[in-house]
């Protein structure tokens, strides 16, 4: 539609074309001005030179414009140009008569003048059909009819009647004279239909409409002037000349193509703006009667009455038409909003399709077939043919099509509603698909999750029961070891004693391992219960240092304990677990510290937390391993030669975290390691519920 006109494809050329139009318009108007002010005595100059100059300028403009911009349908402008040419020829003959000082009326000029009306009207009819190719717009037609009837009413009373009653005119002269207002009326009717039917806010169209308006007015006044005195009214001549220039020059503007191109916007905006004219037109007959009454003239009762009846009928038809459209529009809205609600409420795809079908069924198109939804699963939608067709897309594929058949004008009115339904259905389907996918995913995840939880619980139960089973044989082994160790079964030889020590040590180690695994598994399964009470950490540390004294003495490791606080911190926690925490750190430190090394335990307090540092002068932990030492079963490379399960640090971490605290470590290989433990003191108050047993949930 917006193919740039040939010869004006660039902005530069477009600007040039516009200035050509304006320049020509200016020249034309200057000629008109000179014509208006030149003295009557310059008859030849005025009637032949100036008048024909303006006429020829207009006609030439039309044909140059058509050649220059090549409208898709040049017929409309060519017909208008032909009409202008007829006027020019008429003017030529008229002028010649005037120069010869003969009365130009009646003369061959009238034939040319009268021929111009149907030509221009035909051009406009083509424009009207081209601008709204989808059919008749009843409202614009009715509006134009109202205006035309009003003008006819005026014309009949003030032009036709006087002419018919004029005794001075011959019958032939009467016929010729009457033909002018008839031509005007025809032109006016068509122009009104053009103006009322679609927007004309383009320069070329505005010039055309202005020119047509002046032409009709000028011609009517000319006719009135003739009938009044038989004298030519020079001012109306000028008006007519300006009208011709405006119409012709309009074709020089690049927007002249719009005359025969589809007007994109609906006519509603035009309708609102121009309705006052329609209303005023409807008042014409009574106003004429009032004026005639006031002037004491003869009242044209029949003519005004007939015009009034026609106008009332036309306005009633217009009202009925507009009401019908409003009701249709309201029904469409209701259907659409209900469909929107149903799309939101639809449970599945079938619901959506059913809702769309219900919505489409309410569109009672003025045709023999209703709008339909055709699913691509039912039929090959690629080859469906219909007056209206909107695809319903789902995942870039055509899921269905909405089709409707009706006259193009009706479809035009329904198509936005039908498109909306297609689009909403598409959105609804996509939404449904997403929801379904999401539900399936969620269900699958939930099942998988439940399965994982079950497996995890099974693992915990398995670890727990295996560990218990391991304790039974260990009980007999360790029990008899004690009995043998006590010498109740006789004294052991040195070799036997050595072997006995190895068995004893390893049974203890096995027992510790089982205990560690059990504690770990309890932390994992979340079945650890904290028996909270007020715990004096200084006491706990002192006790544990005491209980490890034998080991540290054997390894010649000195254990120091420093309390770096005004008052020894008291925390609310599980004394057994906190003791195990201290024990694990202490045993670790002593174990990894070579002879004559020192282990220092520092107990302090900072910002509401008890801090325990376990510092040793042991082997240290390499920096790249420091992040992993709290992992289960991880053992630092420097610990390889020293016994241990790799569970101790993971357990202390769990214990600290169960108390809302944390553990951290700093270390240097060959220098030593410091573990920092932080246990918050301001935990939840020690009330009845927490005192008994509260589970640390996993």
């Amino acid at each position: 539609m917006d193919v740039p006109p040939q010869g004006a494809t660039t902005t530069e050329q477009r600007r040039e074309s516009t200035s050509l139009c304006i320049t020509t318009l200016a020249i034309g108007l200057i000629v008109c001005f000179i014509y208006a002010v030149a003295p009557d005595s310059w008859t030849v100059f005025r009637e032949l030179v100036l008048y024909l100059l303006a006429d020829v300028l207009a006609v030439t403009s039309v044909y140059v414009g058509v050649g220059r911009y090549r409208p898709t349908s040049p017929k409309a402008w060519i017909l208008i140009g032909s009409g202008l040419l007829m006027l020019t020829l008429g003017d030529l003959i008229w002028g010649l008569y005037r120069v010869a000082d003969r009365s130009p009326f009646p003369s061959p000029a009238d034939a040319f003048y009268l021929a111009s009306f149907p030509l221009i009207a035909a051009g406009l009819i083509i424009a009207v059909l081209r601008r709204r190719p989808y059919g008749v717009d009843a409202r614009a037609g009715l509006d134009a009819a109202v205006l035309t009837v009003a003008l006819a009413n005026v014309g009949w009373i003030y032009v036709a009647r006087p002419v018919l009653d004029d005794q001075a005119l011959s019958s032939f002269e009467k016929v010729v004279t009457i033909l002018y207002p008839c031509g005007d009326l025809l032109l006016f009717a068509v122009a009104a239909r053009f103006v009322m039917g679609s927007s004309w806010n383009k320069r070329a169209l505005r010039l055309l409409v202005c020119g047509l308006g002046l032409l009709v007015i000028g011609d009517t006044m000319f006719a009135l002037g003739l009938s009044d005195s038989g004298r030519v009214a020079g001012v109306w001549d000028t008006i007519l000349l300006i009208a011709v220039v405006l119409i012709g020059v309009g074709a020089l503007d690049p927007t002249m193509r719009a005359l025969t191109e589809e007007a994109g916007d609906p006519a509603d905006a035009v309708e609102r703006r121009l309705f006052p004219f329609v209303a005023v037109a409807a008042m014409v007959p009574p106003v004429i009667l009032l004026i005639q009454e006031a002037r004491g003239e003869e009242l044209h009762v029949e003519a005004n009455l007939i015009a009034s009846l026609l106008l009332i009928g036309l306005l009633a038809a217009r009202a009925e038409y507009m009401t019908r459209r409003a009701i249709q529009s309201r029904d469409r809205e209701a259907t659409l909003s209900q469909f929107s609600a149903e799309v939101l409420a639809a449970a599945d795809r079938d619901d959506l399709i059913a809702a769309a079908r219900r919505a489409l069924a309410t569109f009672s198109l003025p045709s023999n077939t209703d709008a339909q939804l055709i699913l691509s699963s039912d039929r090959d939608v690629d080859h469906v043919e219909a007056g209206f067709l909107a695809p319903v897309m789902l995942r870039d594929e055509c899921f269905a099509v909405v089709v409707a058949d009706a006259k193009p004008d009706h479809l035009r009115r329904w198509q936005s509603a039908l498109s909306t339904i297609a689009r909403q259905l598409s959105i609804g389907l996509e939404w449904d698909r997403l929801l379904t996918t999401e539900k399936e995913t969620a269900t699958a995840l939930a099942q998988q999750n439940a399965r994982l939880i079950e497996l995890d619980a099974m693992k915990d139960r398995f670890v727990s029961s295996v560990s218990h089973e391991l304790r039974t044989p260990l009980t007999s082994m360790m029990g008899y070891l004690e009995i043998i160790g006590d010498g109740e079964l006789g004294e052991l030889t040195t070799e036997q004693h050595h072997a006995f020590d190895i068995i004893d040590r390893n049974c203890t180690r096995l027992n510790n391992l089982i205990n560690d695994i059990l504690v770990t598994s309890r932390f994992d399964s979340g079945t650890v219960q904290l028996h909270r009470s007020q715990v004096d950490l200084a006491d706990v540390i002192a006790t544990e240092i005491q209980s490890i004294a034998a080991v540290s003495a054997a390894g010649k490791v000195q254990v120091d304990f420093v309390v770096d606080a005004v008052q020894p911190p008291i925390v609310v926690g599980d004394e057994d677990l906190l003791s195990q925490l201290v024990d694990n750190f202490l045993s670790n430190a002593v174990k990894f510290t070579p002879e004559r090394g020192t282990v220092t335990v520092t107990l302090g307090e900072r910002s509401g937390a008890a801090l325990i540092d376990f510092h040793d002068t042991g082997v240290g932990i390499p920096p790249d391993e420091i992040d992993k030492i709290f992992d289960r079963f991880y053992r630092a490379s420097t610990a390889a030669t020293i016994g241990g399960t790799g569970l101790g640090l993971s357990i202390v971490k769990s214990i600290a975290e169960a108390h809302g605290g944390s553990v951290d470590v700093t270390s240097e290989v060959g220098v030593g390691t410091t573990f920092h433990v932080s246990i918050p003191m301001s935990q939840e108050p020690l009330d009845a519920t927490t005192h008994q047993r509260d589970e640390v949930s996993a």
């Binding site: 007999s476 004690e482 028996h531």
Partner: protein, 138 residues
């Protein structure tokens, strides 16, 4: 092996020996308990499951019972409750041996009516000490 005499056992020193009922489904542990307690001057009645222990103890033949928790037929908790409900054994001290060291198990044992408990693996000397402590109080 102990001779499960029904008459009041008499020790080497001629004094009446306290009778301890030991119940465990693991023969080795049963023998360990028996060995330790007999060496310490107690007469031990051996039971390999809960029902057998109940039959031995119901008449009031034992002065104290050392019961494993996890036993076939009748577990330690149920047996304890049954003994407590039985007139002849109502006051008999009971020590539970448990491999399940969780706090809830210990609590459950006390709830059932046990006087003391030991976690497996236990030290035989400690068992002896506990038995001695309870019987010595009487």
């Amino acid at each position: 092996m102990s001779d499960n005499a029904t008459s009041t056992p008499v020790g080497p020193d001629g004094q009446a020996q306290p009778v301890v009922l030991a119940a465990d489904d693991d023969d080795d542990i049963l023998e360990l308990v028996t060995f330790r307690l007999e060496r310490s001057g107690y007469t031990v009645l051996q039971a390999h499951d809960g029902e057998e222990a109940w039959e031995l103890a119901r008449g009031g033949a034992a002065d104290l019972a050392v019961l494993d928790v996890m036993m076939p037929k009748l577990d330690g908790f149920a047996l304890t409750r049954r003994l407590r409900d039985n007139e002849a054994t109502k006051r008999m001290p009971i020590i539970l041996l448990t491999a399940r060291a969780q706090d809830s198990d210990v609590q459950q044992g006390f709830d059932a009516g046990a006087d003391d408990y030991l976690r497996k693996p236990f030290s035989p000397q400690e068992l002896r000490a506990r038995v001695q402590a309870i019987l010595g109080r009487r």
